[in-house]
């Protein structure tokens, strides 16, 4: 009973935060969006903190995280002295991108000098778009990330104030990658809510990189929800690099709808983080849509990385292909749940899924669970999951050629990881991430890499 009481207490405390700060939360935002908050809070109260009793959160129990936090909420944009150029320049040398900075969930124009985007492209603060681009936001907001379906979406919807809005018009190609850097930076422990909406029009093309970073060593929780609408014939690549310190809980939801003939690549590379939970939903909602969905997680110490995917094949002739890999060291833990639903009329579906994991110690632990629900006979589906250790025969083979054990282990781990990275189609980006992963495996990436210098100071 104690557990149930605690949970209720936490839910009540969070609800109190909501009630006490409602005027701040609603400030400057129109009624049509504010009116979605109360039902979302109700949904959160109904579902509670996601814990192991919730089948979808079986491998990532957030009960204790929320019980123990009493963090400041970022109800308004904080004043910062972050210079955009200093933040990321060393991570990605000579990699030409459109940089977009979001700090503590807030998009601040002073951090984002105007860049030369193709005509019609809109990149701005979500709260500004709510007012200035109401027709677009209202059409898509809360349609893919439904508050009633998930407690983290519910919480996000109740508290959402800002984030990023991107609109790419029909037939528009953005050749330079968009690099969205999410920075967490605060003098005290901080809870961040971020809400993004991205709309890619018909026959548009873009490559979008999310880079999640921490700049100060405080405790952070970030609840980040992105809705992503991909139009007909659009070609979209989404890459994310999660590189935050061990006192960060990164709770990320990416909810995507793909229309006819669209092509999607997602690749989530989790280098560092305390608790990382990635929810990824892809709704294949037009014929011949294709999704290639990948993830690589490297964890050590007590880190926890959990990828939860839900691929919904709603229309015939679509293809999805998932490849997730984890390398777990020390007493780190990991989870992978891959849910695939093929609708009754979604014939000629091809849905594939693979999850391979390497445990480097006996204390590391990985849970993996495919969940395929297939409601018609005319499909090709497969899934496979493995949990193993470094191949000792291969290790001896390398050593027998004069390569020392440490180097040989690294070569094998890197080879294992590289299969996921090979799916990154932007050569330069792949090289950069290859190098980061190599460094990470060698233990040369500090907990927040270039940003760590800031922490030490």
């Amino acid at each position: 009973m104690a557990e149930v009481l605690d949970k209720t207490t936490t839910v009540r405390r969070i609800s109190d935060i909501y009630e006490l700060n409602l005027s701040k939360i609603k400030d400057s935002l129109p009624d049509w969006i504010n009116s979605s908050r109360r039902p979302a809070l109700d949904a959160f109260q109904r579902m509670g903190i996601p814990g192991f009793k919730n089948e979808n959160y079986k491998y990532t129990d957030l009960t204790r995280l929320f019980e123990n936090e009493n963090f400041r909420r970022a109800f308004k944009t904080d004043e910062f002295d972050v210079d955009l150029k200093d933040v990321f320049s060393c991570d990605v040398p000579e990699f030409d991108t459109h940089l977009i900075l979001v700090v503590n969930g807030w998009y601040d124009e002073s951090n984002n000098p105007s860049s030369s985007y193709p005509e019609g492209v809109i990149i701005k603060s979500f709260r500004k778009a709510v007012v200035e681009n109401r027709d677009l936001v209202e059409k898509y907001y809360g349609k893919l990330a439904k508050a009633g379906t998930d407690p983290l979406i519910a919480l996000n919807t109740a508290f959402a104030q800002d984030g990023l809005f991107i609109y790419i018009p029909d037939n528009t190609h953005i050749s330079k990658p968009l690099q969205l850097i999410n920075i967490l930076r605060s003098e005290d422990d901080l809870y961040v809510t971020q809400r993004n909406l991205i709309i890619a029009g018909k026959n548009s093309q873009a490559k979008i990189m999310f880079c999640d970073h921490t700049l100060l060593p405080q405790n952070f929780i970030i609840n980040n929800v992105t809705e992503f609408e991909i139009g007909e014939d659009a070609v979209i690549d989404i890459y994310s690099i999660q590189n935050q310190h061990n006192k960060t809980a990164n709770l990320t939801g990416l909810y995507i709808r793909q229309q006819r003939n669209s092509h999607l690549v997602t690749n989530a590379v989790s280098l560092h983080g305390g608790i990382i939970r990635n929810n990824l939903n892809v709704l294949l909602d037009g014929e011949h849509a294709e999704a290639k969905i990948c993830g690589l997680a490297l964890s050590d110490k007590n880190q926890h990385v959990d990828n939860y995917t839900f691929i919904e094949h709603a229309k015939p002739n679509c293809q999805s292909n998932q490849l997730y890999k984890n390398i777990l060291d020390d007493s780190s833990t990991g989870g992978f749940t891959g849910r695939i639903h093929v609708a009754p009329h979604a014939v000629k579906t091809q849905a594939y899924q693979r999850n391979n994991n390497v445990l480097l110690t006996n204390a590391a632990k990985m849970n993996t669970k495919p969940q395929l629900v297939i409601d018609n006979d005319d499909v090709k589906c497969s899934h496979g999951a493995t949990v193993g250790s470094i191949n000792e025969e291969a290790l001896f083979y390398l050593q027998s050629r004069g390569i020392n054990e440490k180097e040989a282990r690294l070569m094998l781990m890197f080879a294992f990881a590289h299969e996921v990275l090979a799916e990154i189609k932007v050569d330069k980006l792949r090289d950069v991430i290859d190098k980061l992963v190599n460094k990470r495996l060698r233990g040369e990436v500090s907990k927040c890499h270039s940003c760590a210098l800031d922490c030490i100071r």
Binding site: N391, E392, E393, A394, F396, Y397, L398, Q399, S400, R401, G402, I403, N404, E405, E407, A408, M411, L412, F414, A415, F416, H418, E419
Partner: protein, 250 residues
């Protein structure tokens, strides 16, 4: 070069080698034959430093140094090479990266500077031509998707790259067609110098049509029970191993 004295080894609690004595000098080719399960592969693996095998007694001195004290990679850098009976496929590790790392580890051990990319590729081209390995194979991951013959040729190619002083080839001839067998044995013959030595572990006489050994040893039940010149191989081919077993009192 190599002096093995009274060597005992076990795997998973079972004694396999029961007192091996063997001396190999520079310039010599030794052949070790014997029925299945006699300990041939165990001997090869023990000498190369496979930690799945536990040495319980005896010594192996390699060029004056205690071989058994060295880790597998140090043994390789000291000049010992094992050609695997079953070369391992390593997806994701490219042949080029693998060989470059191996060659430069050897050079580092000898206080030589690492080869430049250009010099390395040149070396690789030379050795490929020498052992007649298909140039496409080096563009792939280590042994991945190689045929049985390609894997064995790849072992000889690696041997050519690393230039060991003692090569132990564990059944490098098994599973080869006649053309591959010729290429493999040509490689062994080409790489032979007065300063290095070879131990061939084999089942078959047919390899000896191409490579002329100085000594033939019969390994039986963990011991070398007979040593002679190349004529012993012919005798084994003709009579099988039964007469050896009889001599051993079975």
């Amino acid at each position: 070069m190599l002096v093995i004295k009274d060597l005992y080894a076990r795997v998973e609690g079972k004694d396999i080698l029961k007192g091996i004595n063997l001396t190999v000098n520079a310039g010599e080719v030794h052949v070790i034959m014997g029925p299945n399960g006699s300990g041939k592969s165990t001997l090869a693996n023990v000498l190369a430093g496979n930690t799945n095998f536990e040495v319980t007694h005896g010594t192996a001195i390699f060029n004056g140094k205690d071989l058994l004290e060295m880790s597998a990679d140090v043994r390789a850098k000291e000049g010992l090479f094992l050609g695997f009976q079953y070369p391992v496929e390593i997806p994701g590790v490219s042949m080029v990266n693998f060989l470059k790392t191996a060659v430069n580890e050897h050079r580092k051990y000898r206080d030589q500077p690492a080869l430049s990319a250009g010099d390395f590729l040149k070396l690789m081209r030379e050795k490929k031509a020498m052992v007649q390995i298909d140039s496409q194979l080096t563009n792939r991951s280590v042994n991945e998707g190689f045929s049985g013959g390609e894997k064995k040729k790849n072992e000889i190619f690696q041997m050519a790259m690393l230039e060991p002083t003692l090569a132990i080839l564990d059944e490098t001839d098994s599973g080869l067609d006649i053309d591959a067998l010729r290429i493999v044995s040509n490689g062994v013959n080409l790489l032979k110098t007065p300063n290095n030595a070879t131990i061939l572990v084999t089942h078959y006489q047919r390899l000896l049509d191409y490579i002329v050994p100085d000594f033939v040893h019969v390994l039986y039940d963990g011991r070398i029970v007979k040593s002679a010149g190349k004529e012993l191989a012919l005798e084994l081919e003709e009579k099988g191993y039964d007469w050896i077993k009889k001599e051993q009192g079975e």
